[in-house]
Symmetry: C2
Subunit: 209 residues, 2 copies
């Protein structure tokens, strides 16, 4: 089976340190460009330039453009899912968990680039099954973590109701990114919205309804 293939790095992950560093640099460059200019303006030649290599060398690590995009997405979402896990370990008193979870999410969302990055991803997921799958895995982790928090605070909710309310809360949080920075109405100051959001979260964590 050892055919005389063109020199290309196949197994997906570089074995040697230099290769691993290069692959990271490529994903870093592509991520920055995706956020700065959007997927429509993203080109392999720009990625190569930003990563400090020649255009033809990209294919040595990533045979096609879509492999780069999938790669950067998987890396990002993996890290984010890990953050959920890590946060789950250091649990404070149950009563404060919802609040702290919201804090973490809002802090992350406030980090400028997150919204732009996700807007691109939502659009991409509609056209690419691999990206849709990765996004789905991410939101599943996000959602499971929140279900756990809600049930920890208010066990009487019951799992089915907690699952639905967690989904609603995530939808609200994601939807709120539209009202940040650009693209939607900005006449409502965010601090007010976030205060209201916390009240909403409190209501969703109650066993009423």
């Amino acid at each position: 089976m050892t055919t005389g293939k063109p020199p290309r790095h196949r197994p997906g992950t570089a074995v040697l340190p230099k290769g691993r560093v290069r692959m990271e640099a490529i994903l870093d460059a592509a991520t920055a460009l995706l956020i700065d200019e959007g997927y429509a303006q993203l080109s392999t030649r720009k990625i190569a330039a930003r990563a400090g290599i020649r255009p033809g060398h990209l294919q040595y690590y990533y045979p096609a453009k879509q492999d780069i995009v999938r790669g950067l997405l998987e890396r990002y979402l993996e890290r984010a899912s890990l953050a959920f896990e890590r946060e789950a370990e250091a649990t404070p008193a149950a009563e404060r968990r919802v609040e702290l979870f919201l804090d973490a999410v809002l802090r992350d969302q406030r980090e400028g680039d997150r919204a732009r990055f996700f807007w691109e991803l939502w659009a991409l997921a509609a056209r690419d099954d691999a990206i849709a799958g990765a996004m789905q895995a991410f939101y599943r982790a996000y959602w499971r973590r929140l279900v756990g928090v809600l049930l920890g605070v208010r066990p009487a909710l019951g799992r089915p109701r907690a699952e639905r309310r967690a989904a609603l809360l995530i939808a609200t949080l994601e939807g709120l990114t539209l009202f940040r920075s650009r693209g939607a109405g900005r006449e409502l100051p965010l601090p007010f919205l976030e205060r209201e959001l916390r009240e909403l979260a409190g209501a969703l964590a109650s066993d009423a309804g």
Copy 2:
């Protein structure tokens, strides 16, 4: 001032019927392509082909590609804003207004293409000020309409609180589009989510909190 410019249709809107029909056809074609393939794959040549004209003739009506995108967006959002107005005229008993408003929004969102279209727009708005402005105007109309509904049902809310809650509800509704079709988790059946959403809307329309 009457210089010998190249033959180009300048004023933005065609005067004669034939020209108006052509412009509509161009926007129709571009909208369909944007939904089917996404902005990254959108090209003037594809638009021309789908509209049944030669590539060079596009520039007669729309000097540049971005004019087409802005044109289709403005047309769509104008129609949607009008729909809000029309709906506001036929008001039933106050108590049912929130419910009916939700019905209308959810029905619209269920219409397959709406989500894909908006995902593209959110991403585009982050790069193009004209698109961001149009989106902002649309969400403002949407939001004002909902504030009116909430205040009509529960005047005791007061305008500031009604404004914040309307924004939250819109964020939730937009965020829920992520859980439809593709791109996010689909393990939660939508009917359940929508039932929960109605309860949430009811809570937001109460004067508690």
